[in-house]
């Protein structure tokens, strides 16, 4: 089901009412049932795929604590094999087969392309990460396996986060699902506010920026100037931010209506003072997942608990670097089975690597200068990374990037005037929003007045613009 629709608004209203009326056990059944229905509204035939992943990890996790040490590993590998096998089949088989056949043909073979018609199940990348992290956490003895299948299945399939996160850890939600927090009007008000903010970002901002971005990236690269490339990179950066953070807002708000707290997924990422800081603010649940379940193991660090402090000094530099590039390559491919996403990942690895090299010298700078300078440098570097994320091909990406490094390409503006205007307004607006937010202190008159005005503008605009014309961008991952 798509959040930006009337169907979801009515669906959510009914579910929240029932949720607070029903007793504990019935409530869990309700969540499981409506979560499957929520998923089935898209394509019912893919519900069993999600259930397979859920059931496998439930039973594997129950067996791990009872098994001998060497069998524990086998059980873990079995879970990883099944989960990543499903992900590989649905998401990567076409990509790898096409490239393998292409390579073989380059080497002289005469193979015909396979005609595979595989549809990517919605949210598979998200729920796979969620079920896998659960089993790994049980294997690492960070959590005990959940014996109640319904409760566990609710954790995996809980509809607000099912399709595009935040990627939850079991420890973050199972307790909340098991022990319903008391009903409070504060939670309802907070939940509604987050949903309104999310719908505003999606239907008013992201969906109206989309046509400008689409038209821009559809232009022949040869006719673009360097300033056009920068503008498109920034504009797509804004679109994907509004779109994806909108999903997270609505997910967090929907859960909040049921008294359940989800972790935040975004924190003004474009105000990051360094590439590392950016990944602490952008898609936080994925960044921390990748760090805990991929980067740290690849770097050879034994993870005792959810890492918050990065790598220990004991890890060698070359190990860190190798892990960094491997992690980012995988992170890129997680977003999509395409060379452009791999390039996006490697670009980020390179940026973080360079940052690590120059970081020691930045300590000599005054904190204010370092922060302001950090934002000024980080923002364009991060925005430029969106080019391969959105461009149709590697050729288009290289073409666009080559404009950026060509001083002669900075002499013209070749798109509609509105594209530059909208980009500039949003850029200024983002900084202004952060500044305005810093002015408002909780529970004072100015805050109350400001919020009232903001919601009085946002609600009618949502009513006017609410149309499921576009999916959330992250649905395709």
């Amino acid at each position: 089901m798509i959040f930006n629709s009337l169907t979801y608004i009515i669906f959510l209203t009914i579910i929240v009412l029932l949720y607070w009326i029903l007793p504990y056990r019935s409530r869990l059944f309700l969540i499981l049932f409506v979560s499957l229905a929520f998923y089935g509204f898209w394509r019912i035939e893919f519900v069993p795929v999600m259930l397979l992943s859920t059931i496998v990890d439930y039973f594997v996790s129950l067996q791990i604590p009872k098994a001998k040490q060497k069998n524990k590993k086998k059980l873990l590998y079995a879970s990883l094999f099944i989960n990543f096998g499903l992900l590989f089949y649905f998401k990567y088989l076409i990509f790898f087969s096409e490239n393998a056949i292409g390579l073989a043909n380059l080497l002289g073979a005469d193979l015909r392309p396979l005609t595979l018609n595989i549809i990517l199940p919605l949210g598979i990348s998200f729920y796979t990460f969620q079920t896998v992290s659960y089993t790994i956490d049980v294997y690492r003895e960070h959590i005990k396996p959940e014996k109640d299948f319904i409760l566990y299945a609710c954790y995996v399939t809980f509809f607000p986060q099912l399709v595009a996160g935040p990627i939850l850890r079991a420890a973050e939600v199972t307790d909340q699902l098991a022990h319903r927090p008391p009903f409070t009007l504060d939670n309802i008000a907070l939940g509604l506010r987050r949903i309104i903010q999310g719908l505003f970002l999606k239907v008013v901002l992201a969906d109206n920026i989309a046509p400008l971005v689409d038209a821009g990236f559809a232009m022949p690269v040869a006719t673009m100037s360097a300033l056009d490339v920068w503008t498109l990179a920034f504009l797509f950066g804004f679109q994907i931010y509004f779109d994806f953070s909108a999903y997270s807002h609505i997910a967090i708000g929907s859960a909040k209506l049921m008294g359940i707290n989800f972790p935040e997924n975004f924190d003004f990422p474009y105000l990051a003072t360094s590439p590392r800081d950016f990944w602490r603010r952008w898609h936080i649940s994925l960044s921390s997942w990748i760090r805990d379940y991929l980067y740290l193991p690849l770097a050879g660090v034994k993870v005792r608990e959810h890492s918050v402090h990065g790598l220990s000094g004991a890890v060698q530099d070359n190990q860190k670097t190798k892990a960094l590039f491997m992690t980012w390559a995988i992170m890129g491919l997680w977003h999509g089975a395409n060379w452009t996403f791999l390039l996006w990942g490697i670009y980020h690895a390179l940026v973080v690597y360079i940052y690590r090299l120059v970081k020691p010298s930045s300590h000599k700078l005054n904190t204010y200068i370092s922060n302001v300078g950090g934002v000024i440098i980080t923002l364009p570097v991060i925005m430029l990374a969106w080019v391969p994320f959105r461009a149709e091909s590697l050729t288009a990406t290289v073409g666009m990037w080559s404009k950026v490094v060509n001083p002669l390409a900075y002499t013209s503006l070749n798109m509609r005037e509105n594209v530059y205007l909208v980009t500039a307004i949003i850029l200024v607006g983002l900084f202004a929003a952060k500044w305005i937010q810093s002015l408002f202190k909780p529970s004072n008159t100015l805050t109350f007045f400001g919020e009232t005005v903001a919601y009085a503008v946002m609600i009618p605009l949502i009513i006017v613009f609410l149309r499921p014309i576009a999916q959330f961008i992250y649905f395709q991952f």
Partner: protein, 356 residues
């Protein structure tokens, strides 16, 4: 809620709003039969009208210049009506299709669509410098991409593939629910929307509110940045090159179907400096002339056809409310002149062809 309430009881035609109060659309009819249509929803009336007549068909594709009259009087008529009458005498059928700001990309797909249904003998194609800035296909024409035969023909040209890639999965009806294609939610959403629209005029009029909001933003932008119809608008190279590709594709399609083509540079107001960079405009004219020459297509430059007194003003496009010069639409006398010029060229072309 102010935006919603503001539009209660007001019928807004956004194409008309863009033209302004001083300029009105007139889609001609002959004996009650439409001979000038705009988009697919009304195309059948024009097509059916022709099929009952079935003489040699002359098709005119264009932008609002051919369906709008500046300072319109009650008895005024457009060039379409005049040309239809003139050609009827020689047992030929003259028909027009036009949309505001139509790009050559839109003409291309509409031409493919009409060729599928009509035996076009002659195509008349105005080339408008302003519209070389346009790109994309309006939702009202998007259903064309659902026709598999047209899609297959489009896939044979570069620009056709680009248009298919951008629009292939869209149609006008599903445009508001594009993200729900083929899902259970699509039916539920449609049911909810339809019922809500039936019971609430506020909900039903949301498209009007959206359009009104964008129009107000557009006027505000123009006011804030001092933009008016006289402001110089530069070429957008990407859109320009795609429109030139579409132009070439139209000429190729016409050749394949043995359709005779007449192209012309549209009349331009010449009592004031045009809102163009003149170097770009002259390069454009030279390029069009060169393409038509290499394709063996009759091409005329009607830039100075309509004298200054036959042009007019349009309602304000900014928040200040002052009338502005109209560079695109002329008065009825201008239509008369355009019709005569085109008639002369077409007769000459027909005679030339008949002597071959």
């Amino acid at each position: 809620m102010l935006i919603l309430y503001q539009n209660q009881g007001i019928d807004v035609e956004f194409d008309e709003l863009a033209l302004g109060e001083a300029t009105q659309s007139l889609f001609a009819k002959a004996d009650g039969v439409p001979i000038h249509c705009s988009v697919l929803s009304d195309a059948f009336s024009c097509i059916d009208g022709y099929l009952q007549d079935n003489s040699d068909l002359i098709l005119w594709l264009g932008n609002s210049q051919i369906h709008a009259i500046n300072q319109k009087q009650e008895s005024d008529e457009t060039a379409t009506a005049i040309l239809h009458r003139k050609f009827k005498q020689s047992l030929q059928y003259f028909m027009a299709f036009s949309q505001p700001n139509a790009s050559l990309q839109e003409h291309y797909i509409l031409f493919e669509y009409l060729l599928e249904r009509l035996p076009v003998h002659i195509l008349v194609l105005p080339i408008v410098f302003d519209d070389m800035r346009e790109t994309g296909i309006r939702p009202e024409l998007a259903d064309i991409f659902q026709d598999s035969q047209i899609a297959s023909r489009l896939s044979k040209t570069n620009i056709g593939r680009t248009l298919l890639a951008a629009n292939g999965d869209k149609d006008s009806a599903g445009n508001d629910m594009a993200a729900l294609n083929d899902t259970v939610q699509e039916q539920v959403e449609k049911f909810l929307n339809d019922n809500l629209a039936e019971s609430s005029s506020l909900w039903e009029r949301r498209p009007i509110s959206r359009g009104k909001l964008f129009t107000d933003l557009y006027k505000f932008r123009n006011w804030a940045l001092g933009i008016n119809p006289s402001s110089v608008r530069r070429v957008i190279p990407g859109n320009y090159s795609q429109n030139i590709e579409a132009f070439n594709a139209i000429l190729d399609t016409a050749k394949t179907h043995n359709v005779i083509v007449l192209t012309y540079i549209v009349p331009l107001r010449n009592d004031v400096q045009p809102p163009y960079n003149m170097d770009e405009y002259n390069t454009f004219k030279a390029e069009i002339a060169s393409i038509t020459q290499s394709q063996g297509v009759r091409h005329v430059d009607l830039e100075n056809l309509v004298p200054a007194e036959y042009w007019g003003v349009k309602s304000s496009t900014t928040a200040d409310g002052n009338n502005e010069l109209d560079f695109m639409h002329f008065q009825s006398s201008g239509h008369q002149l355009l019709a005569e010029a085109l008639y002369k060229e077409l007769i000459s072309l027909i005679n030339e062809e008949s002597q071959k």
